[in-house]
């Protein structure tokens, strides 16, 4: 079996060490003040990909990331842990992208990389949107499985995936190609491998530009991003009362309506 997996990974500010200067006046993240790390959920996704590589012959794992030059660290980190290679999308024209423009760029790159499967973390700790994986699937017109906790393996030409849901787990089966988003409760990523670290510590990553992935230039970066941040404010959550719901569609819909109405979400 030949299987090519692309793992979407993002370099994010480490929100575990948020200090006073974490946000700029204009409400955007002050990236310079926070150490850059490999997005945690994406690490879980990488591990799932590497497990398939352990389990089956002829599986290749490549990373795909978008960011400034230093995001090449993400590709190297993947190499240290067992990936075969990766692509860095780095071009001023990609900058300022919201999830729509990001997923457009990633989908363009994926078309060029031609994988059989795309894995991504469920969400990044900076934006917390959980939109990019599903949007990539939509743009590629591939099926998607979200909230994966474990990729169980192949059964004939279908892949079996365990999904982590609020009320339990669910096993689903899907043909390829496929986009899977991996939940943080999945197995933690394996450590860096000493020999790979020595071998790849100076690995060069040649960035791809907009020109390399083609497509409609207007859909990239800030130009392609309809999202505008209107205002950012700190919200202190307080528990004042509790409410018990059944798992029925109706009650959950009602809860959402109420939360949207109260501006808690939305």
């Amino acid at each position: 079996m030949f299987l090519k997996i692309v793992v979407l990974a993002k370099q994010v500010p480490d929100t575990r060490n948020v200090g006073k200067d974490a946000m700029k006046e204009d409400g955007t993240v002050n990236r310079a003040a926070l150490p850059a790390i490999f997005n945690p959920d994406d690490m879980n996704a990488l591990e799932q990909a590497l497990r398939l590589k352990d389990q089956y012959p002829n599986v290749t794992v490549e990373l795909l990331t978008m960011g400034p030059d230093r995001a090449a660290e993400i590709i190297r980190e993947g190499l240290f842990r067992g990936a075969d290679g990766g692509v860095l999308l780095s071009d001023r024209k990609f900058a300022g992208a919201d999830t729509l423009a990001t997923s457009y760029a990633l989908a363009q790159a994926i078309r060029k990389m031609q994988p059989d499967m795309v894995l991504a973390g469920r969400q990044a700790i900076d934006g917390d949107t959980a939109q990019v994986g599903p949007q990539v699937a939509a743009k590629l017109n591939w099926p998607q499985v979200t909230y994966a906790q474990e990729i169980m393996g192949f059964k004939d030409d279908h892949i079996i995936i365990k999904r982590r849901l609020e009320q339990g787990v669910e096993l689903v089966s899907s043909p390829l190609p496929l986009v899977i988003t991996v939940h943080g409760s999945a197995a933690p990523c394996r450590p860096r491998h000493a020999q790979r670290l020595i071998k790849y510590k100076k690995a060069m990553v040649l960035p791809w530009s907009v020109g390399d992935v083609g497509g409609d230039e207007g859909k990239y970066g800030l130009t392609g991003s309809p999202t505008r941040v209107k205002k950012i404010e700190n919200i202190v959550f307080q528990v004042k009362e509790t409410k018990r719901l059944s798992a029925s569609e109706e009650e959950i819909t009602d809860l959402f309506r109420e939360l949207i109405h109260q501006h808690t979400i939305g």
Binding site: R190, P191, H193, L197, K201
Partner: protein, 544 residues
Amino acid sequence: MDNFYKDNPDLAFQFGHPLMHHIVGLKEADVADALENYDLVLEIVGDISANTIAPSAEEADHEGPALHNGRVSYARATAENHRILTQAGLYGMALPHEYNGLNFPMVPYVMAAEIVARADAGFSNIWGLQDCAETIREFGSEELKQEFLPRISRGATCSMDLTEPDAGSDLQAVMLKATWDESTGFWLLNGVKRFITNGDAQIQLILARSEEGSADGRGLSYFVHDQAWGGVRVRRIENKLGIKSSPTCELTFSNAPAKLIGERKLGLIKYTMSLMNGARLGVGAQSVGISEAAYREALKFAQERKQFGKPVLYFPAVAEMLDTIKAKLQASRALLYETARFTDMYKLTHLKQYQRLIDCYTPLLKFMAGEYANQNAYDGLQVHGGSGFMKDYPIERLFRDARITTIYEGTSQLQVVAAVKGVINGIFLSQIKEYQNNPVQSEYEPLKQLLLQMTDEYEQTLSLMQGIESDCLDFHARRLVEMAGHIIMGYLLLIDAQRDESFAYSAEFYIFNAQSQNRERACFIHSCLTTKPNFTKSKPLSLT
């Protein structure tokens, strides 16, 4: 993220030692690149030790290994530690690249051992037994090397099976029988081994009697057995005081196939002695790791625990205990890496001078670092007061884990027997004179004067020993070895302080203590020799 390498600058400090550049230059073409690699790989070791091994050390200690149908299964956490270190490629660290190793010198390898032991001293045995590879690499045929070494790099577990019920310290008495079997082309092993650390290992090195009718060490040969060949069963797992995450096994051999390592009859007299130097260096590293953990636990507790309105740290009696632990910790670490450097120099040059140094430094290290680990765990527990006596804090485990370090791989008493050779043949003294030649900054001159006085006293004491009977010398051996050891470690700390003044306080405190302890020993020897020449002990006084 916590990191047991990055949080301890005293470790990377060792790479700045002048001899280190020389060692790396003999091993690798690009010294700066190699040093960067050591740093990067030790960062992985520090990460896994801090975030995987240490947090589950208590769980592994409580659960311990289990025995089912003659096979050992590790505690959950122990198995997980082994799995992760295997995934990180941290086995075969000292093996050459051709066997898929990292080709590390002893210094960074020993450092990894210290870091892992700080996290879980019991588990550090399982990881540290990769050192068995060194015996196969040094003495085995190319065929054996190809068969076993790459597997060790991939994480195959190892054990060295020496001890038997009637052959502990006295390995010449080993009885496990090895018989050549023409039909299979294997040696067949029959008998019992006892107290075997990680005894259900995949690759076992075994000392056995190949020469029928022989009774001493010259009838013993060295073998390697692959678990897959069958014939070895675990009869029981010992219930121990400490290092409980590491299984200590009694093994029965029933026609267990094995291959000869090197030549017949050299098993004990050559190969085991070489293996032992490696293992003792390993126990030295383990001891320093335990001391480091004990110091950190004691310091943390003393900062948090308040009595009489302030942290107990600020009471002089507690502060002195903490400083004593730190001084002994840094002194034993200085001796550990000095010994590791000499070991590297010997392995890389095969010069006799380094052979002589490691033959007396290794037992000195094993002896002193093991004793200090016990004293440090004892004092560290004392700092905790009543809480230290409870199972609620890690210090009680450290106290139990430390206890083995003065016992296995040769008791402290046996280390003294080996190290005293360095007293008699003058190796220690000539090395002390080498240290004297290191220039010190003027503010350290008074400390150096103390060491010079201690050296005079040591030489005077030695002169009293001239012409005395050998069992009288045996009687004083420990005192003499300790005197030499104190001076050596005093100098090493003083030399470290020239490169980094953070060592100044430990150097000073250690040398003050060492001087008074040497005086006590000199006084004892002097009194003995002047009042009862050739006084010795062959049995306890009450039995005379």
